[in-house]
Symmetry: none
Subunit: 187 residues, 4 copies
DNA sequence: AATGAATGAGGATTCATTCAT
DNA sequence: CATGAATGAATCCTCATTCAT
């Protein structure tokens, strides 16, 4: 609800009046339930962080196999789909985020998720795990009027984009185990 | 100069007073040179767009070979390095962008760049070209305190990160021509 | 309880939420017992006014002797000690006082008290009676962190300050009867 | 100008709108000249503090005689007359004062002034010096609609009140040197 | 007897913008 | 060329107060 506005327009550009109007309440009513604008955004974003926490916790209990990594990506794709506004908010709001350490919280989660997908190996593998994650973000952004860069789609349907992004992500995190063509990388 | 502020704090959070102060002039002096806050940001971001235009124009004159694609990525990496604040501004400022069609301009460029890197083929290839570009953004963000998600680095030096990202990007745009393992993608 | 807040922070700076919190009740509960913020302050200050009324009534029944005046000052010192927050509130809250004629009520009492201490005589005597009263206020303010001007003490213990102030006050109201040095005043 | 409002209604009760209105400018115009409400009050009160500083500095250069003390009181009476709103503001605004150490500044000055008038001796002498100062405040308050307690006058003309207060103050600070009746004080 | 929820009015403050000089 | 001064509109936020339950 409020988060959509934050995500669309940015934290600063979204006034409490707008939020209150959209929610059909008074500005002052918001302040009965939240102590500040910051608290509002924190509240609306908490679930997203919690979802990632849960996913990471689950992953850390699994064997570090290809299948686990794939399942992590699948689940993360779902999380991003459901919590799309939250994700977008984090990706696009430097100002609204540096306050109250919300940015750091997101970076922590991203690092944890990355830790689950990256098993050691050359810098290239690190980057690949990174891009696998970002790929999930892009997939979500590709469908619908996301307002994000690359948004507006490349002419793919939602399922197509999702599946294609997953395929590419799988491939990216698989490259590490499938050593062989690895020698060509530095050249 | 002014752009760094926009990139660091966001368009809305950066006041003209701050910009004027950092530039050592008066607020009113800014209005002698620019007609509005919007015009300031447009002016500071123009070079970045122009650089991409030039790159795309050059690429369209080249044969569509692997080498060309690699060179495009290399040059784009350099552009992003030099114009980092501009890039960051585009990625992180929903508000400052929706005004005056600046966002659309960036999306156009990204689409053009994508067009140069993507030669047709399955949706997966589309996504790969996308991630190759995003990879260049990440590489720039990884070095230094970028404030972007995944910023703060993964323990890589600037050159390492750059080279690794290029390697991965090369690999991503090469996957299209190097048919063979392609059959595994759907599984 | 509530009055201490009013005295410490001033009428306007003390919100009903603060009062309710300190009292361990709800803001709405306050409105069950009092009809307005004003009524709260009136209620908490009434005892002080009543004490003065009683003192003045007693004094008016006594013979107008030196001893009576001394006893009035002693009793007023005690009142001020016990009702210190109320006194402080009156001295320091122009805003909270102008409403509902509370200020006038205090001025009335001060005038009555003054009337009991001042027996006629030159303007100087008037002023002396005034300062005798104010001296009692200062004595109370001198002990403890009163927040009043001259508060914080002059390095005197509570008893010292009290006794010294009383001595001086006695002396001030005695000057009237003890004619003699009076001739020096105009010089 | 603005200070009169602060003194009349108290710091908190005086809104910037009121000040701006009375000054015939916009609220925003105030913010061009002052950085905050606090700065406004500081600015309007500075002269008063400076006057006291000057007086104390002068006094400390003089021999510590009766005449000097009398002249100090005379000059302080004049200062209080001229800067009456400032003085009143300090005496009546606990809240507006605790911020920005303005209260402490006033207490410092009062202590310095007291130091100039008090030459050692028993606690009673301390109190007397205090009351001499306060007497000057009362004198100013007695004339005109001061709004202070004891304001509204005791039926004295301005000059009468002033002269009477001075007489009493002289007497108070003289009591120290004129030892003799001092023995009766403790009784 | 008490409260959770809501609100209208107003608070200080900031901002992009204008304009006479 | 440049600036000091000013402003209208909007910001977040707080408050005293009300009312259904």
């Amino acid at each position: 609800m409020a988060l959509e506005l934050f995500a669309e327009q940015g934290y600063d550009s979204t006034s409490l009046r707008e939020i209150a109007d959209r929610l059909g309440v008074t500005k002052a009513a918001l302040y009965y339930h939240f102590r500040s604008k910051e608290e509002i955004v924190v509240a609306t974003v908490e679930d997203f962080l919690a979802d990632i926490d849960e996913l990471v916790a689950w992953a850390e209990d699994q064997p570090r196999t290809t299948d686990t990594r794939h399942e992590v990506l699948r689940r993360y794709a779902e999380i991003v789909r459901v919590r799309f506004p939250s994700m977008r908010f984090f990706q696009q709001n430097p100002a609204g985020i540096h306050k109250s350490g919300l940015g750091e919280q997101f970076q922590q989660r991203m690092a944890a998720l990355h830790g689950v997908l990256y098993d050691g190996g050359p810098p290239q593998s690190r980057i690949r795990a990174l891009l696998a994650i970002v790929g999930m973000h892009m997939a979500a952004a590709l469908s619908g009027d996301s307002g994000m860069p690359f948004g507006g789609g490349l002419g793919l349907s939602v399922e197509e984009a999702n599946q294609a992004a997953l395929d590419v992500a799988f491939d990216l995190v698989d490259r590490d185990s499938t050593e062989g063509a690895e020698g060509a990388e530095r050249g």
